[in-house]
């Protein structure tokens, strides 16, 4: 137990753990000490001096070591000659802190006056104006006028792009260092820094491309002035004009809580549009951060290419049709298909959608399948992390094994949280075939060959001795010992280099390891899937299962295929050949865009984006979280669950198709893990620390970021299924063949449907590439950054070759969703192109 100490702040008695800083102690009893540079998520630096307070300590008699008492028997308090900074001074027993004396007030007034000497005060055009800590503190503590000469004001550059996403206004910067400290301390992407000193100090970026970090948007939230702005929101609207709606980021399995700020926009013909995406505080999920993909990727929902009307194939052409006609046709063909109906849904859908999909499909005894390249969602439901799990609490005594995942690219906020857990003392084990960013914080690094993922983890189940095990690097033995001995242990498994088959083996190996080391059934213990989509876990929970590894037999034997929020033919044109063999198959696609699959469909149904409707996602940690409608829906589109329900109705069965809450009630009644849950429960919130205040009218003047307070639900962590898990039979999985092996890897910014429509991200997405080891490249005659052509699965593709020492020899990394279809490890042939692009 940490020692508690009592002190008095402005006459209020406070008891807080030893080591707490004054600012925090004061906030606990509702006293706001103004700060600029201090941020509760970062180490204090005492740079701005705004937080000055008068600190008195009990007088100690040097001879006796006892406190000196005054005539009333109370300890005598001795105040320092100077004021102390409340953000750097930890509390101690019996202290008396005065934050409201004349001396303190005068000091604060001077500091504000001083900070404003060279501040441009262009609040009217400043994006922070209205939610600006400098404005607020100037109003609350400032002098109202200045004694400095205007002629001496520094005039600096007002529009400095740090990268294509973040702009700096040098004049507005008050040099608090929050942005630099965030990048250094919190995310360890030290790509921006201070340059020069004193009045000439400025923020610069030293990366190429500029501000090369997937967390860059967060600096604009914590910057206490309008010095940092995002390219997306610059001059978008004044903060007080925005309405906010709670939502969940749909880009990755972390399930970051976000707030959509919306406003009517003349440029869009008076429609309400999303103006910006802000983090919403959820200390157990994303704290107050989100990644740039979540912040800037939402533009796909407002793309002009969205489908707006049902389409039916007539005379070989897709032609607009009425809903009634389209649904009627679909229903009759689905009924006719009976058990020949194959439904393919993806983790982009909400639980309600997936539930209805399964109900409809199983109503005619068809098969509802999950479109994914990862397995193990059934295992995470049994040996997943139990309720109460919080990466933010993990530290000493916890082992975290990250297997086959490049977390920085696959789930950036987990990367952040796990990195921090490792810094707090957690034992981080990173197992991957190639180096990843997370390794810098690992206590143990296990390097295996691509294809040996499961085998390596399985070896950890066996090897506990400190000796080297034949065929495995000694690191496996050390790591498995550390893992087994840890009090708590979590495994995150991803799909770096894996297809469905490899993923099956790996997830089973991970589950077995957890069971064998008894790291199951408790909070902060268990298995987490780093899925490729936001609600893959929910899809597994709703009972959808992946197709077989080959997929062809199922597609071929189906009489009708219902593809929802997936693009199997776009992702793998090879499948199309299979499909073309079966012209009689009736293909229905329900999506936001006219995908490659939709182009081949007999009926296309336009669905609504998650920003336009309600629903619930289940995150990778198995936390069920609600999202709310933010923007008005496109006319003539429906939410997925409603479309499915209407098809079902025309097929003669009743599914809930109006109120998503009612679908969720059915889920709660049918799916064991969801028992007892309801939309109302999901909307419950709890007290969170540090308190962020909310919106423009933020409560208090504590550290004032622009993250939103969580008012619409922190979500509920699902319990584990009670059936104990027998050791899973791990199918052995080996890669065959010689020559170069292509393996799929995930990159954050890809050409997927839900990313690419954001033009802002195009520079980060770049050309389609393939990464090779320089030695392989030399052998193949491939020069860095040159065009190469590759033959993969019988088809030809062009790509830019990246040469990278960290790629294992004999392997070519191919990013998923970038234009080269790759489902799993495969043999590839690479030839140097003729033209060298420099």
């Amino acid at each position: 137990m940490t020692k508690l100490v009592s002190l008095t702040i402005d006459g209020k008695q406070v008891t807080v753990p030893e080591g707490t800083l004054f600012v925090d102690a004061a906030k606990r009893v509702g006293i706001d000490i103004p700060v600029f540079c201090y941020h509760p998520k970062m180490e204090p630096v005492g740079m701005c001096r705004m937080c000055l307070v008068d600190v008195g300590r009990p007088m100690i008699d040097r001879a006796t070591g006892q406190p000196v008492m005054d005539e009333n028997g109370a300890p005598k308090i001795q105040f320092g000659a100077k004021l102390d900074t409340a953000c750097t001074t930890p509390v101690s027993e019996g202290m008396v802190v005065i934050g409201a004396s004349d001396k303190v007030k005068a000091a604060r007034k001077d500091i504000v006056e001083f900070i404003l000497t060279s501040h441009p005060l262009d609040c009217p055009v400043c994006d922070k104006g209205g939610e600006c800590p400098l404005q607020n503190l100037t109003m609350a503590y400032g002098p109202g006028e200045t004694r400095f000469l205007y002629d001496d004001k520094l005039h600096l550059a007002k529009q400095v792009p740090l990268g294509e996403l973040i702009y700096l206004d040098r004049e507005r910067c008050i040099q608090c260092g929050r942005c630099v400290r965030f990048q250094d301390e919190i995310v360890d992407d030290p790509v921006i820094g201070f340059f020069n000193r004193g009045r000439s100090l400025e923020i610069v970026t030293h990366s190429d491309p500029g501000f090369d970090s997937v967390f860059s948007g967060n600096t604009t939230d914590i910057c206490p002035v309008g010095a940092l702005t995002t390219a997306d929101f610059r001059f978008g609207a004044r903060p007080w004009e925005l309405k906010s709606t709670s939502s969940i980021c749909s880009q990755c399995p972390v399930g970051c809580n976000i707030t959509f700020n919306v406003r009517r926009e003349a440029a869009s013909g008076g429609k309400t549009v999303i103006k910006r995406v802000m983090p919403r505080q959820n200390e157990t999920v994303n704290e107050i951060w989100i990644c740039d993909k979540g912040r800037f990727g939402y533009h796909y929902t407002e793309s002009d290419d969205r489908l707006t009307t049902p389409l039916i194939r007539k005379n070989g052409e897709l032609t607009p049709a009425s809903w009634d006609e389209a649904l009627g046709l679909v229903a009759s063909r689905f009924s006719a298909a009976g058990e020949g109906l194959l439904t393919l849904g993806s983790g982009r859908l909400s639980n309600e959608d997936l539930f209805n999909l399964r109900q409809l499909t199983e109503g005619v005894k068809g098969k509802a399948a999950l479109y994914t390249h990862m397995a193990g969602g059934d295992l995470t439901a049994q040996v997943g992390v139990a309720p109460g799990t919080d990466f933010g609490e993990m530290g000493k005594g916890t082992a975290i094994l990250v297997a086959a995942s490049d977390l920085y690219e696959e789930a950036p906020i987990w990367f952040l949280r796990i990195k921090q857990a490792a810094e707090r003392g957690a034992t981080l084990i990173v197992a991957n075939a190639r180096p990843t960013k997370l390794e810098a914080y690992a206590s143990h690094v296990i390097r295996y060959r691509y294809g040996a993922e499961a085998e390596t983890i399985a070896a950890m189940t066996v090897d506990r001795g400190p000796t080297t095990v034949a065929g495995h690097p000694s690191s496996v033995a050390d790591a498995s010992k550390a893992f087994a001995e840890a009090e708590n242990a979590v495994i995150l498994f991803g799909s770096d280099g894996l297809g469905l088959e490899g993923s099956q083996a790996l997830s089973a190996a991970c589950a077995n390891l957890l069971v064998a080391t008894r790291h199951v059934g408790r909070a902060n213990n268990g298995l987490v899937g780093v899925w490729s989509r936001a609600n893959d876990q929910g899809a597994w929970d709703m009972g959808l299962r992946p197709l077989t590894v080959d997929r062809r037999p199922e597609l071929q034997s189906a009489k009708a295929i219902y593809v929802v929020a997936a693009d199997p033919f776009g992702d793998d044109p090879g499948l199309l050949a299979t499909f073309n063999l079966q012209p009689a198959t009736f293909l229905v696609v329900q999506d936001l865009f006219l995908t490659e699959t939709a182009r081949r469909a007999d009926v296309v149904l336009p669905a609504q984006a998650f920003t336009e409707r309600e629903g619930a996602y289940t995150s990778g940690e198995r936390r069920v979280q609600r999202f709310y409608p933010a923007a008005p829906a496109r006319p003539d589109t429906w939410p997925d669950f409603a479309i499915t329900a209407q098809i079902a109705q025309k097929m003669g069965s009743i599914l809930e198709g109006r109120v998503p809450a009612a679908v969720f009630t059915q889920i709660a009644a049918t799916v064991a893990a969801y028992a007892g849950l309801s939309y109302r429960k999901l909307a419950e919130t709890n007290d969170q620390w540090p308190s962020v205040g909310s919106g423009v009218r933020r409560k208090g003047l504590y550290f004032s970021g622009t993250a939103y307070e969580n008012k619409q639900g922190v979500g509920i962590h699902l319990p584990l299924s009670p059936t104990p898990l027998p050791p899973v039979n791990m199918q052995s999985f080996h890669l065959q063949g010689e020559g170069l092996l292509a393996v799929p890897v995930t990159c954050l910014y890809d050409r997927g449907q839900t990313v690419y429509p954001s033009a802002l991200l195009h520079q980060r997405i770049g050309e389609v590439w393939v990464a090779l080891h320089p030695a392989d490249a030399e052998r193949l005659g491939v020069v860095a950054n040159s065009r190469v052509s590759l033959t993969l699965g019988g088809a030809e593709f062009d790509a830019t070759a990246r040469l990278d020492e960290s790629v294992p020899q004999g392997v070519a990394l191919i990013p998923r969703s970038m234009g080269i279809p790759i489902n799993g490890p495969e043999a590839v042939e690479i030839r140097a192109g003729e033209r060298v692009v420099l």
Binding site: P120, L121, D122, P124, V125, G129, L149, Y150, D151, K153, K158, Q159, R234, F235, G236, A237, R238, W240, E241, R264, E265, A266, A267
Partner: protein, 167 residues
């Protein structure tokens, strides 16, 4: 009794020779007072650049919620106003406006000014919404119309610089 009647008739007769207070509107228009608050105008600087910087403070101050502003970013190639920001959309709903002049007070650049024009009549609601083109005053003298192409670094400031008091 007759006396009263006679007085009344006298009054009538007398007023027939007085100067009438009514004027022949619309042929004749009465000049307005200096502080009259009529239809708004968006002002320009002498060089023709718009004073309005799209800050939306007028909209925030407006008690009738009559103003809608949307901003966009200036470039030296396509410049509407000094500094980085200009109003890409500026609308006032004259049916809502109560001519209180708060917008004028709130404006940091003295861009919006309530003018002399009181002749506001419409035959449908849409007409009552005055867009920026209607509100902007015409270019005077040497000024050029907006958007303008300007020299880099010439107009970097949205709000005129503060100056030291001169004695």
């Amino acid at each position: 009794m007759l006396k009263e009647l006679g007085r009344g008739m006298w009054t009538t007769l007398r007023s027939m020779f007085e100067k009438p207070v009514t004027i022949e509107y619309p042929e004749v228009k009465r000049p307005v007072r200096a502080r009259f608050k009529g239809r708004h105008e968006l002002k320009r600087y002498d060089n023709g650049l718009e004073k309005c910087i799209g800050c939306s403070l007028c909209a925030a101050a407006c008690p009738a919620d009559a103003i809608f502003v949307e901003a966009a970013e200036n470039t030296d190639e396509v410049r509407f106003s000094p500094g980085e920001r200009y109003a890409s959309t500026y609308e006032i709903n004259m049916l809502r406006c109560i001519f209180c002049g708060y917008c004028e007070d709130a404006c940091p650049t003295e861009a919006i000014v309530l003018g002399d024009n009181y002749e506001l009549s419409f035959t449908d609601r849409r007409q009552a919404i005055y867009p920026k083109e209607m509100l902007l005053e015409p270019v005077r003298g040497e000024g050029k119309t907006t958007p303008q192409k300007t020299e880099p670094g010439e107009f970097i400031r949205s709000i005129p610089l503060m100056e030291n008091p001169k004695d």
